[in-house]
């Protein structure tokens, strides 16, 4: 396993800049997930690391060695593609053995390594099958087998699970994670599914428009989003955002006056608040707006009543879309009871879980 260092990484296609300068340190043996909306440059960054795209500016180091001008095959990387990219004219065995065959590894050694990988991935019974005669999950495992057999320094994954159905996806998620624990190889994993990123990675890198928006441990990114974009991107359903202004409560405490809504007290010590009257965005996750009587009431809560516009029942919980402060907010109802559209419910907004963002730049105001 190796560490990977990206410095000022830029990729341009003609005049269009796809990646706008990325600095990132990926520790040896860690599992890093790149997330971000479509077109933000995740794949491009990964493909530069893989050597499939040239680097326009900046530097990539793998295990301390500068690899900008090193061919893919000599970078010590292996990649799993979204489409699996298996060789359709070869059997499962041949697919996995191909890299070693090209490298002129002795036949017995190839056989030993293929069988070992097949054993890990539970592919032993399929070794003689054409890859066209496999299910999606099996193909996925062959693609993984092809990667691990090369014993690379770094694994690269480009949305490897997005062609699988939900059930298989969560199964493979566990499998990839287990594989990573077992092999300890550095892994870089591109996905646009933030649940994959949250559950698998040691470190999440959120990209937006060719730049890194925030990088950090999953919980850290979730609890302390550096920008409004990150706050809304990580977590499902997306964080509620309410427009407001800096104000004070009747008792003189720092607070946010929601536009067309109430005044909500905030913890003045946790934030760098601008002057009174300045616009801010208040972010609050759906689980921090609790319908009264469903789940623990927060210690410091702002109670409000609102009309229910729509509900989505997920079985173990119900998402409630209600009108608050002139906007639509989402609330999570634990131990749900049937709720009719148009019904008025009382909600408790957890004031200690409020996020504040600069209304212009979107930067978090948290200290």
């Amino acid at each position: 396993m190796s560490n990977v260092t990206l410095r000022e990484l830029v990729k341009v296609y003609g005049r269009q800049v796809a990646v706008k300068g990325i600095d990132l340190e990926i520790e040896a043996g860690s599992f890093v997930a790149f997330v971000g909306p479509s077109g933000c440059g995740k794949s491009t960054t990964l493909r530069m690391i893989a050597g499939l795209e040239s680097v326009s500016h900046g530097e990539i180091r793998i295990g301390g060695r500068r690899v900008n001008d090193v061919a893919s095959r000599d970078r010590g990387i292996a990649m799993v593609f979204q489409s699996y990219a298996l060789y359709p004219h070869m059997t499962v065995y041949e697919n996995m053995a191909f890299a070693l065959k090209v490298a002129k590894v002795p036949r017995e050694e190839i056989d030993r390594r293929v069988r070992h990988a097949a054993d890990i991935l539970r592919l032993t019974d399929y070794l003689d099958r054409r890859t066209t005669a496999l299910s999606g999950g099996q193909r996925q495992r062959v693609a993984m087998g092809r990667a691990i057999i090369r014993e690379p320094q770094v694994f690269l994954f480009d949305e490897p699970l997005s062609n699988l159905d939900a059930q298989l996806r969560s199964a493979m998620r566990v499998e990839i994670k287990r594989l990573h624990q077992r092999l300890g190889t550095t892994a870089i994993y591109v996905t646009h599914d933030q649940i994959e990123a949250m559950t698998m990675a040691d470190k999440i890198v959120i990209m937006r428009d060719g730049l890194i928006e925030q990088a950090g441990a999953p919980l850290d990114v979730f609890e302390r989003p550096a920008t409004q974009f990150v706050g809304q991107f990580i977590g499902s359903p997306a964080m509620n955002i309410l427009a407001g202004r800096i104000a004070r409560t009747a008792e003189g405490q720092p607070a946010i006056a929601i536009l067309n809504g109430p005044v909500i007290a905030v913890d003045g010590a946790a934030f760098d608040l601008p002057g009174e009257g300045r616009p801010v965005s208040l972010g609050i996750r759906s689980e921090d707006i609790v319908p009264e009587g469903h789940g623990m009431p927060p210690e410091r809560a702002h109670r409000f009543e609102a009309r229910v516009n729509l509900t989505e029942s997920l079985g173990n919980e119900t998402l409630i879309f209600a009108e608050f402060g002139g906007a639509d907010v989402t609330s999570r109802m634990q131990r749900p009871r049937p709720v009719a559209d148009g019904e008025t419910l009382a909600f408790l907004l957890n004031q200690e879980r409020v996020h504040l963002f600069d209304a212009d730049t979107g930067r978090s105001l948290r200290r």
Binding site: L52, L86, H89, V102
Partner: protein
Amino acid sequence: MSATTFDLATLDFDAIARRNDQARTQRILLFAITAILALAWVTPFYYLAISIFKSNAEYGLGNPLALPTSITPVFENIAEAWSKAKMGSGMLNSLLYGLVGGGAAIFIAALASYGLTRIEFPGKGFWFMLIFSGTIFPLQMYLIPLFMGYNKLGMTNSRIGMMLFYTAVCIPFPVLVLRNYMAGLPREMDEAARIDGCSEFRIFRSIILPNCWAPMATLFLIQFTWIWNDLIFSMVLTSREDARSLMNGLMVLQGSYANTTPNVVMTATLLASLPSVALFLLLRKHFMNGLKLQSL
């Protein structure tokens, strides 16, 4: 079960029967037309099939469409056709031109298609259009300049010259087909191969080529058959027996014997078509797979 409110007694059975009848007369009419067309199509084959079993005398005397009295004359006909048309050397030459010309052309076309779909170089579109233009103009256009050029280079009546010519004219069309086919093969497949350690040529040989067998076999069959059946270029560029193709030889035979022994000429034409048929049967599997894109 929901109870139906429809009363079967109200159904107009006669009307339905009439509609069915109408459909049947239409089908009969259609069948009659197809049968006539089929007959027109089959008659020449029938004529050919029976004629080769007739001796020259039998052919001359009886009704041309009558069944032969015995099948033994066919051996005599074959022997006569084989020697009169010099079919031995002609067949070897044609085989040489078809296999080498068709094979080399397809291979070169595959290389070109790989370059056109996988390698970045300036003027890609222009080069493709240039090759593509080779399929637009009628080949006869090249006849005179080619003949003069070959004459000057002393390449008429030469096997090498013929192979070169056939290879060259058979490249553009396969490029057109293979370029499109290869463009449809997923790029990620060769990127995976590149990461797996392949050089550019190794990707071509080990990954792209094996996935192109079906269209390549089809194209080879088409080009082989064209070369095999080509008469005009063979006649213009060769006259001596040692470089002459089978069709050219047949032409000569036809010229001198069509009136006196048409049964022998017909036997010769049938013999001449056998290799193409054999090749088709041999490549049938790939041919049937045709241009079906098979990828993951």
